[in-house]
C-alpha cells in the first residue's frame, strides 16, 4: 500500500498552488450568450407552480409558458381587454352566467398523457374552489362538459370580471387531470404535464430555463430558449442589463428617470401597466379626524404634484382614484378637492381646530418615506404637526385589521399602496362595508356604495360599468378619507431587438415576445 505523507513544506506549497488557481488568467469568450436565447431577470425561484397553491408573480410567468389558458390580455389605445388564446377556438359569454368554450384540436399533454380535453378544464377550475386562490372562483358554480373539447363555465350569479380577472390570470391555468391525480393531487416545482411551447427546468438560486417543447404543435415562439436568471435586487438586474447580459428586466423609478434622460445604447423602455394605486388614508372614526371638515382640509393641504416630482422623479402618473389607467371607470380629475393650502387653513378654522398633531404611518421604503416627508412639510404649512412613523411590513399590514390587535383604534393617517388586476371590481372590493376592520381601514360605510358595487359586478355593458365605478370613486372621495397619490408603472428596460409582452400587472409572457 502506498504511504501518503504530508510535510509542512508540501502543505504550504499545495495551499499556494490552490490559491494561484483562483486567480489564473481566464478568457472572457464564454461570457455573453447570444442566438435565439432570450435572457431575462426573474426576481426569485419558482416556489409553487400549482395554480391552486402558488405564491403568484413569477409562478404565473412559468404557468403561462407551459400550461394552456383560455384567454389572454390585450391592450388597445391604452385600454385593457381580453381575447381567446391560441388554445381556445372559442370563448364566448353566452349570457351573464354562462361562458362557452371550445379547445383547439390537436393539443397534447407531455409525458404521454394524451390530448387536452374539456374535462381537464372542468377539473382545473373546480379544484381551484378549494385551493388558496379560491376567491377567484367564488362565483363559479361548475363547468359543464358538452363534448371532448367543448364545455360551458357556469357561474352562480352574474360576475362580469370573471374572464379578465380569473381566466386571463394565473388561476385560469388548465392542468392535466390524469397527471395531477397521479402526482398526488398537487405539485410544487415540477409540472406533472405541460402543453405549451416550452418545457421547464429550474436550477434553484441560479436560473429557470424554458426550452422548446418537442411535442408542441402550435405556433412556435420567436425564442427557442428563455433563460430566466434569478436576480433578487432590481439594481443588480439593471446593472446586468447595462452590461448586456440581460435582454429584458424590470426597472425602478429612479432608473426610469435616468433612462428617460439618457437611454443605454440599443435599449428601450416599455410600460406594461400601472395597476398600483397609492393614497393617503384617514381613519374617519378617529376623534381627531371625525370632523369631515378636518379631513377635507388635509385633502386640500397635500401637494401631490410635489410628491410625484420629489419622491418619484416624475415617473409615475397622478392618481384620481383607485381605478388605474387603462381600466374602465378611471377618473380624469378629483371632484371634491385640489391643492389649495389657503382653503385648507380656512376649513381647519371653520372646524375650530388648532395645534393639530397627527401621526402618519408608512412602510419603511425609500419612496414612501420621501412622500411622507413632503406631506409633513405640506401639513406644517397649514399648522398641522405630522409625525412620520415608518414601519416594517409585518406590523404595517396588520395595523388596520381588527383581528390582529388594537392598533386600528390609534390609526390616524397612513400611506397605502394596493395592486390590482385589469378589472375595476378588484380595486373596489376592499372598500365595501364588510371590509371595515379588514382592508377598509378608513372605516366608513355607505349603502349606496355597496349597492353600486353589486351592480358593477353584474353589469356587462362597459359604458354602464365605467359610470358605476366613477360614481363609487366620487363617494369614496367625498368621505374626505383619501388623498389620491399615484399609479406606479410596471416598467421594463429591454433591447430594441426584443418586443416584450407583459400582463398589465407586470408578469412577462415569453411565448409572446417577438424578435425585431
Amino acid at each position: 500500500m502506498k504511504n501518503y505523507s504530508t510535510t509542512r513544506r508540501n502543505f504550504m506549497a499545495s495551499t499556494a498552488a490552490i490559491g494561484a488557481l483562483g486567480v489564473m488568467p481566464l478568457l472572457p469568450s464564454a461570457a455573453f450568450a447570444q442566438g435565439s436565447t432570450l435572457r431575462i431577470r426573474q426576481e426569485r425561484d419558482h416556489s409553487i407552480l400549482d395554480p391552486a397553491y402558488m405564491v403568484g408573480g413569477v409562478d404565473v410567468e412559468a404557468q403561462k409558458q407551459c400550461l394552456p389558458f383560455l384567454s389572454q390580455y390585450t391592450s388597445k389605445d391604452g385600454t385593457f381587454g381580453w381575447q381567446p388564446t391560441y388554445f381556445a377556438k372559442k370563448l364566448e359569454q353566452r349570457d351573464a352566467t354562462h361562458i362557452d368554450f371550445e379547445l383547439v384540436e390537436g393539443l397534447v399533454w407531455s409525458n404521454g398523457y394524451g390530448s387536452v380535453k374539456a374535462s381537464d378544464v372542468k377539473f382545473s377550475f373546480e379544484r381551484m374552489k378549494t385551493g388558496d386562490w379560491k376567491g377567484y372562483y367564488d362565483s363559479l358554480d361548475h363547468v359543464e362538459v358538452t363534448g371532448d373539447r367543448t364545455g360551458t363555465i357556469v357561474l352562480k350569479k352574474p360576475f362580469a370580471p370573471f374572464i379578465m380577472n380569473t381566466l386571463c390570470n394565473g388561476p385560469g391555468a388548465i392542468l392535466c387531470e390524469k397527471a395531477v391525480k397521479k402526482a398526488g393531487g398537487k405539485f410544487t416545482t415540477k409540472f406533472p404535464a405541460v402543453c405549451g411551447p416550452y418545457i421547464y427546468e429550474q436550477i434553484p438560486g441560479q436560473q429557470a430555463t424554458f426550452t422548446a417543447n418537442p411535442e408542441w404543435t402550435g405556433p412556435k415562439p420567436d425564442y427557442d430558449t428563455v433563460k430566466a436568471l434569478i436576480i433578487k435586487e432590481v439594481k443588480a438586474a439593471e446593472l446586468a442589463f447595462e452590461a448586456g447580459e440581460l435582454d429584458c428586466t424590470s426597472i425602478g423609478a429612479d432608473t426610469l428617470a435616468r433612462y428617460t434622460k439618457k437611454m443605454p445604447a440599443d435599449s428601450a423602455v416599455s410600460v406594461a401597466g400601472e395597476l398600483q394605486y397609492m393614497w393617503m388614508g384617514m381613519n374617519t372614526e378617529h376623534p381627531k379626524l371625525k370632523d369631515p371638515k378636518v379631513r377635507r382640509a388635509l385633502q386640500h393641504a397635500v401637494d401631490v404634484d410635489s410628491i410625484l416630482a420629489g419622491a418619484y422623479s416624475s415617473t409615475t402618473k397622478k392618481s384620481n382614484g383607485v381605478i388605474c389607467p387603462g381600466l374602465l371607470g378611471q377618473r380624469d380629475s378629483t371632484k371634491y378637492y385640489n391643492y389649495d393650502p389657503a382653503k385648507a387653513k380656512a376649513l381647519l378654522a371653520e372646524a375650530g381646530v388648532s395645534g393639530l398633531e397627527l401621526t402618519l404611518r408608512t412602510l419603511n421604503k425609500q419612496e414612501r418615506m420621501l412622500t411622507a416627508q413632503i406631506i409633513q412639510a405640506n401639513l406644517a404649512a397649514i399648522g398641522v404637526t405630522l409625525n412620520v412613523l415608518p414601519q416594517d411590513s409585518g406590523p404595517f399590514w396588520e395595523m388596520g385589521q381588527e383581528k390582529k390587535g388594537d392598533t386600528w383604534k390609534d390609526l390616524e393617517l397612513w400611506l397605502m399602496r394596493f395592486g390590482t388586476t385589469p378589472d375595476p371590481y378588484e380595486a373596489m372590493q376592499w372598500f365595501v362595508s364588510s371590509q371595515v376592520g379588514i382592508w377598509n381601514w378608513e372605516r366608513w360605510t355607505d349603502k349606496e356604495f355597496d349597492k353600486l358595487y353589486d351592480q358593477g359586478i353584474a353589469e356587462t355593458d362597459d359604458a354602464k360599468r365605467a359610470a358605476i365605478y366613477k360614481n363609487m370613486q366620487d363617494i369614496m372621495e367625498e368621505t374626505g378619507a383619501y388623498v389620491w397619490i399615484n399609479h406606479e408603472p410596471e416598467t421594463f428596460a429591454h433591447s430594441v431587438k426584443v418586443k416584450i409582452n407583459a400582463a398589465p400587472s407586470g408578469e412577462l409572457n415569453y411565448r409572446r415576445f417577438e424578435r425585431v
Binding site: 504550504m12 443588480a236 409585518g394 399590514w397
Partner: protein, 314 residues
C-alpha cells in the same frame, strides 16, 4: 494535544448551541405574525393555518425549539415553507458557491498579500514599503460592497471584459471561473492589505531575532535567511488571521452575492429573512456558523501542528 482538541470541540459545540438559541429567539421577536408576513397580507385563512402548522407556530415556543433542535441533530433542518424542499438540500446547493467565492477571494489575497508584506519588511522604509503601506491601508479602508460596484461598473458595464452577474453556466467550469473573477477580486481586495500589514509586522519582529542575526553572521544568502528562516516563523500569526478572515468573508460574500446575483449562503439568508422563511434562515445560519467555527478551529490546530512551541505548550 488530544485534550486541547476535545476542549476546542466542546467549546465549538457550545457556541453553535448558543447561536441556535439566539437565532431562534430573534426570529420570533420580529414584529408581526410570521404566517401573514410570509404569505402576504391577503393570504387565505386556510393557507395561514397550513403555514402555522407546518412551522409548528401553533406550538409553545419551547416546544418549537425542542422540535427544531432534535431534528437538526439528526441532520434534518426542516423544509422550505414555500416549495417544501428540504432545507439541508437547499443549503448544500448554495454552500459550494460560497466556498468557491471565499476560497478564490482569500486565495488571490494570500498570493499577493503575503509576498508584498514580506518584501516591505525586507526593505523597511523603502519606496516599496511606503507604497505597500499606502495601498494596504487604502484597500483595508474600502468596503467590499463599494469595490463590488466599482469593478462591476468598470469591467462588466464599461469595458465588458468580464461577466456581471450569476455563477456561470452550469457544467461549464471555464464560464463558472470567469464569473468568479470580479466577486472574488472584490471580497479579497481588503485582505491583500490585511495580510500585507500582518506579514510585514510579523516579519519585522522575526528579522530582529537572534537566530536571524546568527544566520546572517554565518554568511547565509539574504533570500535563504528571509524565506527559509524568517518567513516560516512570521507566517504563523497570519494563518490564524486567515482562519478568522475566512469567517469574515462569509459576511462579505453576502454583499458580493447580492450585487453579482450569485447563488450562495449569504444571498440565501438575506432572501429567506425577507420572506420570513424561518426554516431556511435557521438552517443556513447554522451551517454558516458551523463552517466558521470549523475553519477557526482548523486554523488553530494547523498553527499548533506547524509550530512545535505552540504544540508543546498545549
Amino acid at each position: 494535544m488530544y485534550f486541547y482538541l476535545i476542549k476546542r470541540l466542546g467549546l465549538s459545540f457550545a457556541v453553535i448551541i448558543t447561536v441556535v438559541i439566539v437565532l431562534f429567539a430573534l426570529l420570533h421577536l420580529i414584529p408581526g405574525d410570521p404566517a401573514t408576513i410570509a404569505l402576504g397580507p391577503r393570504a387565505s385563512d386556510e393557507a395561514i393555518a397550513r403555514y402555522a402548522a407546518k412551522m409548528h407556530l401553533d406550538e409553545p415556543l419551547w416546544r418549537q425549539f425542542l422540535i427544531y433542535i432534535s431534528n437538526a441533530s439528526m441532520g434534518d433542518l426542516g423544509v422550505d415553507v414555500f416549495s417544501d424542499r428540504p432545507v439541508t438540500q437547499i443549503v448544500m446547493e448554495r454552500l459550494g458557491f460560497t466556498l468557491a467565492l471565499i476560497t478564490c477571494g482569500l486565495g488571490w489575497a494570500i498570493v499577493l498579500g503575503i509576498p508584498l508584506g514580506a518584501l516591505a519588511a525586507v526593505r523597511p522604509n523603502s519606496w516599496l514599503d511606503r507604497i505597500t503601506g499606502i495601498l494596504s491601508v487604502g484597500t483595508i479602508a474600502i468596503p467590499s460592497f463599494v469595490v463590488s460596484i466599482w469593478v462591476l461598473v468598470i469591467f462588466a458595464i464599461n469595458l465588458r471584459w468580464l461577466p456581471a452577474i450569476g455563477a456561470g453556466e452550469p457544467g461549464q467550469l471555464g464560464d463558472q471561473l470567469l464569473h468568479l473573477v470580479l466577486p472574488a477580486f472584490a471580497i479579497g481586495l481588503s485582505w491583500v492589505g490585511y495580510l500585507a500589514r500582518m506579514v510585514r509586522a510579523s516579519m519585522l519582529e522575526v528579522m530582529g531575532e537572534n537566530y536571524i542575526r546568527s544566520a546572517r553572521a554565518f554568511g547565509l544568502k539574504p533570500n535563504t535567511v528571509v524565506y527559509q528562516y524568517a518567513m516560516r516563523v512570521a507566517i504563523l500569526p497570519t494563518i490564524t488571521l486567515i482562519g478568522i478572515g475566512f469567517g469574515g468573508l462569509i459576511s462579505s460574500a453576502v454583499f458580493a452575492e447580492i450585487i453579482f446575483a450569485r447563488p450562495g449562503i449569504g444571498s440565501l439568508i438575506l432572501i429567506s429573512i425577507e420572506a420570513r422563511n424561518f426554516p431556511v434562515v435557521q438552517g443556513a445560519v447554522l451551517v454558516a456558523t458551523s463552517l466558521y467555527i470549523f475553519i477557526v478551529l482548523f486554523s488553530d490546530l494547523l498553527v499548533a501542528w506547524l509550530n512545535p512551541r505552540v504544540r508543546e505548550s498545549l
